[in-house]
Assembly symmetry: C4
Amino acid sequence: MNPYEHIKIQAYEANMQLPQLGLVLFTFGNVSAADRSKGVFAIKPSGVPYEQLSPEKMVIVDFDGKTVEGKLRPSSDTLTHAVLYKHWEKIGGIVHTHSTYATAWAQSLRDIPIYGTTHADHNTVDIPCAPPMDDKMIEGDYEYQTGFQIMNALKERKLSYEEIEMILVGSHAPFTWGSTAHKAVYNSAVLEAVAKMAHITESVKADAARLKDSLIKKHFERKHGPNSYYGQ
Amino acid sequence: MNPYEHIKIQAYEANMQLPQLGLVLFTFGNVSAADRSKGVFAIKPSGVPYEQLSPEKMVIVDFDGKTVEGKLRPSSDTLTHAVLYKHWEKIGGIVHTHSTYATAWAQSLRDIPIYGTTHADHNTVDIPCAPPMDDKMIEGDYEYQTGFQIMNALKERKLSYEEIEMILVGSHAPFTWGSTAHKAVYNSAVLEAVAKMAHITESVKADAARLKDSLIKKHFERKHGPNSYYGQ
Amino acid sequence: MNPYEHIKIQAYEANMQLPQLGLVLFTFGNVSAADRSKGVFAIKPSGVPYEQLSPEKMVIVDFDGKTVEGKLRPSSDTLTHAVLYKHWEKIGGIVHTHSTYATAWAQSLRDIPIYGTTHADHNTVDIPCAPPMDDKMIEGDYEYQTGFQIMNALKERKLSYEEIEMILVGSHAPFTWGSTAHKAVYNSAVLEAVAKMAHITESVKADAARLKDSLIKKHFERKHGPNSYYGQ
Amino acid sequence: MNPYEHIKIQAYEANMQLPQLGLVLFTFGNVSAADRSKGVFAIKPSGVPYEQLSPEKMVIVDFDGKTVEGKLRPSSDTLTHAVLYKHWEKIGGIVHTHSTYATAWAQSLRDIPIYGTTHADHNTVDIPCAPPMDDKMIEGDYEYQTGFQIMNALKERKLSYEEIEMILVGSHAPFTWGSTAHKAVYNSAVLEAVAKMAHITESVKADAARLKDSLIKKHFERKHGPNSYYGQ
């Protein structure tokens, strides 16, 4: 049996959720699933249509971005995934999409303000928009630098990747992560829904107010933390 | 035979309508169905995906929020349902969703103005947005207090729960109710449609006028009241 | 054989297109199909869900609004249909919906400006929005008066029902018509698409210009008139 | 065997993608596929519903717009296709739709600004909106002149049809092209997605900034040019 079969299946299934959830057009997205004991992750091959995917086509890559197994070329965003896996030791899955509303916010270079409890159920802060990289970083090893750009944006806001599992890369599109590939896909769908609601909220009320702190705290703690009481 | 089977089936079927009507993402919603003769209601278990639901998984809870039967933990919003059943003696079903447009209005803290006959076919007033609770209520028994927040918002506007079967909880999301769980789901879908239309109406005309009284009266009475002539 | 079977089937099939085209929620719409040789039309029964419809359930009504055959009560909008059939001798089908974008324009009390060739392929003028009726008409025979309100709005703009097969009833929703029920449904879908595009056009450019006359003429004549060259 | 069968099949399959991708309502679109060795293209017959299409119904037309084979009348936009095939020697497919967001931008007479990497993955410039033709051209051989209007709009901006495979015809709707009919359909879907995102971007931030040059260059070269590394 192939030693990477479990993460190939995870990555395959998580990738297939993207079109089902309406988060991708054509091949504009990718998911990876890591096996930390082996120091590798399985990721979508570059540019292959979702309907042609299979677990066997997933590419196995190490945390330095080197292909370990697989006949196809891995996603062009592979180095961004590798950097994040290498530095964030507790994540098991990463998703990148160009989902419509989250991408529009990324293009506006604005953080998504926390306007309601749907947002607070998942994060306690505005969803950060990392600024575009400077030109040298872009001209250099772009996808590798994108990973650092994401990490730096969290650092500057003194946020941990465990507190917030989603970010907008300014002028580009969202990345999300989580303990598993499946959880990272969940976060992508949540981000898209929150982005759409925030857009409509501002349309309905131009100077809408951020959610007050007591509600942010309450809703986040309902689903997370020691006294959470959501789910089974 | 299980004495609660009829409301378990009602609650199950009504919950399954939410994803079919596009009113929920993942588990962001719940429906309950009451049996007043027994003083209990059946409600969705917390955090269980819709595709894994079955009538047997519904949890039976009394009007004080105490679980009467069921192995799973009931919806985290159960106490809100309990409070409303306890105080509003004629309702048989309650729905909570985070549907996109209704939630965006809730986040804007605005009532939804009555702009047309689609709205007036169901209500004669602007759809109220209850203000967010004060911090003490939020830090206390939050879901229980949400029930009172909803009741108080109607009282302050001198509205009866029989006149208006839907409300926005400010910064949060909508709740709807009705004589049955099925009717409450119907009201959720109507609210989402009305919320979307009101948003577009204001986009098309910033200072759109509320519907005039004669049309509000006419349309509401077509569907409701002693001389209604809609339906069979 | 039932003498009205052909129009019952036409009305049934045309009614079933409304949910398929995304033009109705629940029962918020109705289609009728006329047989002018018999002076009657078949129309959807009031408040019956689309999934429970069948040709046999269609109600046969004459042009004065009197039920000729059928066990169910006809659509609450039946008198509006009757008035239009009575006065507009060349139409064979009528549709009423509360489709999202067209209804939002009706709620804004604005005509839909002719912004592009999609519009001009079907009409040469802004799509009229009839003003709401005065209070006496509303309190009187409302649906009957709605028919006259539609006819008067065209008359005031010196438009013929053969030139323009769609209208917004202000504060209410759209009506469309055509030579057949099927054509009237087609017009409803076109109206909704044009209404959505016009809304986005104004969003993208606040002072968007109306289509120039030469393009209006060219596109309309491509599809209509003696030298049309669209279709087979 | 029919000498045109391969392009009839290509044109048929590409036409059928339009409704699947949500790019057309009814018959508001058409695709053609060329065989340059024979100097002809296969195109959708005019006004035939997609569900009634088959490869045999495609019409074969030469680059002067003369029908070579086929019982049905070709698309009313055939002359526009013919002009582009005649002058742009490297294209093998053309698509015309009235897709919602791209058409709204065309109606606004604005170019679509390049706001993000989704756009830059496909083009390095704002998507041009050709001005409406002058009245004489419109009253003359309209579809033929539309082809020249498209070519002239690129020329004036010093753009090559190989650099940019999509355009808005002002007041009308988009045209796209590519090496194959399939690629041209792909471009239509990309254009619609980019048009929607740009609209939301401006809604979220009225004075959104164009993407900076280094990112435009980087993203375009990832997918195109000698050092591209996207896909297999």
